[in-house]
């Protein structure tokens, strides 16, 4: 049955209360931020309590969705509202509850809760404890916002918030210059992707008039809008749908660390390990994959039956290339977290390739399983680092399987899940990766991605075995002895290990519940499907590849524990190749020389302009004003004052001259008197003459 849209009006349904799921952790973050003194207990209670509440609500939503699915419906339940009204245009926001969102909600809240609990032990000795939980709660709220967003605009807003919290958390130990630089790098690199995302968003809004995904038929992911987009041609033979899809994929590529915007992820390991686990393994980097899944109707628009679109092809190629590229680099890394970081990039490539070739269910299944075992691996690495007193170089570890048994057990489960070890059919990574390989095998465009992904699986097994051999086997090469981590850290490890093993069971060929749930079909349990020839061949191939990788690596790195100063075995064999891989294929250096140098030059130009040209203008103006002021002063004191003074002097002189009349001598006065009388008399007599 095709998916239906339901606009929910009942106030008590879970969909109406869905907004609480992201809101409560955000509010908890706000309250924690406003706390006057660092109150550790309060901060932790707020963080864990809010995420638990969100988990509860998410479970309710999930159960609701399962019930609807069992009844035979497949719905997108939406709640939309108008946010801004500008003239005749409305900008609407809203949230949606559908199987995809429900699955993601449960995964995010559950993994977040486990990591929060783990962090109470890991960050115990840190002085910015409350800040940590404030930022983590904010992150959880923002990520959940991304998940339930029904509007591309709301998704973008939460997307940016997620980026912000990632910046805050990578640079958590901001006193370290490397951490601050890594945070900046992460923010700027994802920003490059976000610019394209924004362009795509604006274009979509311009074309369809709405940014809502589902809106009772008028949403942008619904057939009417998609038909309109397909009719619009854009550049390079693409339609508007294809162009917008590629722009949005550019944004997802930034966030999910696809080549060439992957450079920030390894540096993001500067943040605390719980941060790496939650943000850079399980959730935030998965947001890109989730975004593609969300706009899948757009990406798939125009595909003929059995065929694919340009956008999805691009996604596939980028994903496959990233998978191999990152796996190659991971082989030559020596930092325990960096190996896992490149592994994450590689697995994200797998997810993207799965989305491109197999559809939403394939990619999302790998996303969910990856979240669990990658979080497990990171938390295990954190436990190892904590136990080795903050040592992160694998060449200085060794023999920890006896010192840290619990960590070793859970870490091995995670490692095998990541490799996709087929035996004994328990490891979730096996099923999810096989789903992707299956889709690659049946891809209509080319078979090359399949071979790339198989190579990637080989390399994954190789480097993970290398890492485990270095860390847990051999003898201890560090300075101080190691110790096991406290229970608050190992219990989440155990829980995650359990799920890493069992989660695969919802996606096996025998019981394709996951894809059925997401696509609204019914699923039946049929054990015999496993032994269908095509499945069997594929499973066998992948198992053989993985075992080959493990055996090769064990042969080279096995129980030997070479001293840290000695070069690696592969380095001795192929030093040039090793050097290239060790230096991450010089991508960072390339960026340094091109993009950063370019911007540096522009910055220098701008600075020169500012200082010389504008500064010169300002100086000139100031000089002109000063000159004017001087002129005024000159005029004032010389012309005005001078003329006034001169006038006064003249007056004084005149007065002096006039005062000479007052001689003080009587006879002068008499003379004047006589003269005046004479003149007067003369006048009078003259005038009276007749």
């Amino acid at each position: 049955m095709p998916p239906q849209d339901l606009i929910i009006s009942s106030p008590f349904s879970i969909t109406q209360m869905l907004w609480l799921i992201p809101a409560v952790p955000v509010v908890a973050a706000g309250v924690t931020a406003l706390l006057r003194q660092p109150k550790r207990r309060t901060a932790v209670t707020l963080a864990i309590g809010s995420v638990s509440f969100s988990l509860l609500l998410s479970l309710v939503a999930f159960v609701h969705m399962v019930v609807r699915w069992a009844e035979g419906f497949c719905v997108h339940e939406t709640v939309n509202f108008t946010w801004i009204q500008v003239g005749a245009t409305n900008v609407e926001l809203g949230w949606v509850l559908d199987p995809l969102a429900a699955v993601m909600l449960v995964m995010v809240t559950f993994v977040s809760l486990l990591i929060f609990i783990y962090s109470t032990g890991y960050m115990k000795h840190d002085e910015n404890y409350t800040h940590f939980f404030c930022f983590m709660s904010l992150f959880a709220g923002s990520m959940l916002g991304v998940v339930i967003a029904n509007s591309l605009l709301l998704l973008f807003m939460c997307w940016e918030l997620v980026g912000l919290t990632s910046y805050l958390l990578i640079g958590f130990w901001y006193q370290k210059p490397s951490a601050a630089a890594a945070a900046k790098k992460a923010f700027l690199t994802t920003r490059v992707g976000d610019v394209f995302f924004l362009l795509g968003m604006v274009w979509l809004f311009a074309q369809t008039g709405t940014l809502l995904f589902y809106n009772g038929g008028t949403g942008s992911m619904e057939p009417e809008a998609l038909a309109g987009l397909l009719a619009q041609p854009a550049a390079l033979g693409l339609t508007a749908a294809g162009a917008i899809s590629l722009l949005i994929f550019a944004g997802a590529a930034g966030k999910s660390g696809q080549f060439p915007l992957h450079v920030w992820l390894p540096d993001a390991m500067e943040g605390p390990t719980p941060v790496s686990a939650l943000i850079h393994a399980a959730t935030m980097v998965a947001a890109g994959v989730y975004l593609i899944a969300r706009v899948y109707p757009l990406m798939q628009a125009g595909a003929l039956a059995g065929g694919t679109t340009t956008a999805l092809t691009v996604v596939t190629w980028v994903g496959a290339s990233t998978a191999v590229f990152a796996a190659l680099i991971a082989v030559a890394q020596n930092d325990i977290k960096r190996i896992l970081a490149y592994s994450t990039i590689s697995q994200l490539g797998y997810m993207m390739a799965g989305l491109g070739m197999g559809g939403v269910a394939v990619g999302m299944f790998h996303l969910v399983t990856h979240a669990f075992f990658k979080a497990l691996l990171f938390l295990g690495a954190g436990s190892v680092i904590h136990g080795c007193q903050d040592e992160q170089d694998v060449r200085r570890m060794g023999g920890l399987k006896s010192d840290m048994p619990l960590t070793f057990a859970t870490y091995s489960i995670g490692m095998l899940a990541l490799c996709g070890f087929g035996f004994p059919l328990f490891f979730s990574g096996f099923w999810s990766k096989d789903g992707i390989l299956d889709a690659a095998l049946h891809w209509s465009v080319a078979k090359t991605p399949f071979y790339m992904l198989v190579l990637g699986a080989l390399l994954t097994a190789f480097y993970m075995t290398r890492q485990v051999a270095y860390v847990f086997f051999g003898h201890w090469r560090g300075h101080k002895p190691a110790h096991e981590s406290p229970a608050v850290m190992t219990v989440p490890l155990a829980i995650l290990a359990f799920f890493a093993m069992t989660l695969g069971l919802i996606g096996t060929p025998a019981w394709q519940w996951f894809s059925a749930f997401l696509e609204g079909r019914s699923a039946c349990f049929d054990l015999s499907r496993i032994v269908y020839p095509e499945f069997l061949a594929l499973m066998g191939t992948s198992t053989v590849v993985v075992i080959l990788g493990i055996v090769l690596s064990w042969r080279l790195y096995g129980d030997r524990s070479p001293k840290p100063e000695q070069p690696d075995v592969l380095e001795k064999a192929a030093p040039l190749v090793w050097r290239w891989l060790r230096n991450r294929l010089y991508v960072d250096e390339l960026y340094e020389v091109t993009v950063i140098a370019y911007y540096g030059w522009w910055a220098w130009v701008a600075d020169w302009l500012d200082r010389r040209v504008w500064g010169g203008v300002v100086d000139a103006v100031a000089w002109a004003f000063r000159g004017w002021a001087q002129l005024n002063r000159f005029l004032d004191s010389n012309v005005v004052d001078g003329s006034f003074d001169k006038g006064c002097d003249e007056l004084a002189v005149g007065g002096g001259l006039l005062a000479r009349v007052q001689t003080g001598r009587v006879q002068t006065y008499l003379r004047v008197l006589a003269l005046a009388v004479m003149v007067l008399a003369a006048i009078l007599i003259w005038s009276s003459r007749t």
């Binding site: 005062a659 000479r660 009349v661 007052q662 003080g664 001598r665 009587v666 006879q667 008499l670 003379r671």
Partner: protein, 103 residues
């Protein structure tokens, strides 16, 4: 020329002489002498007009002249007293030296 005119001319001449003396002599006493001459000339004028005027029986001119003589006497007394007083302090009757009222 009528008799009156000739008397008037004589009076005018005396007046001018007295004025000249008052305006040109350096000593204060001589200024006073000049002033006395002027007053006398005026008296002569008065008497002349009384004699040749329309109503000499009214005695106006004569009375005027008599009073003028009396006043002139008083004025001479006070004036000369002043000159003596000033002489006591300035030790001179030189009018040119008495310029303390100079502006």
């Amino acid at each position: 020329m009528t008799p009156l005119a000739s008397y008037l001319l004589v009076a005018a001449l005396l007046f001018s002489i007295g004025l000249a003396g008052a305006l040109t002599r350096r000593s204060a006493i001589l200024v006073l002498i000049g002033i006395e001459l002027m007053l006398n000339a005026a008296n002569l004028n008065l008497i002349a007009f009384w004699r040749y005027g329309p109503h000499p029986e009214a005695l106006t001119g004569m009375m005027f002249a008599i009073f003028s003589i009396a006043v002139a006497a008083a004025e001479a007394a006070v004036g000369l007293g002043l000159v003596i007083h000033i002489h006591r302090y300035a030790h001179t009757t030189n009018l040119d030296a008495m310029n303390r009222m100079k502006g």
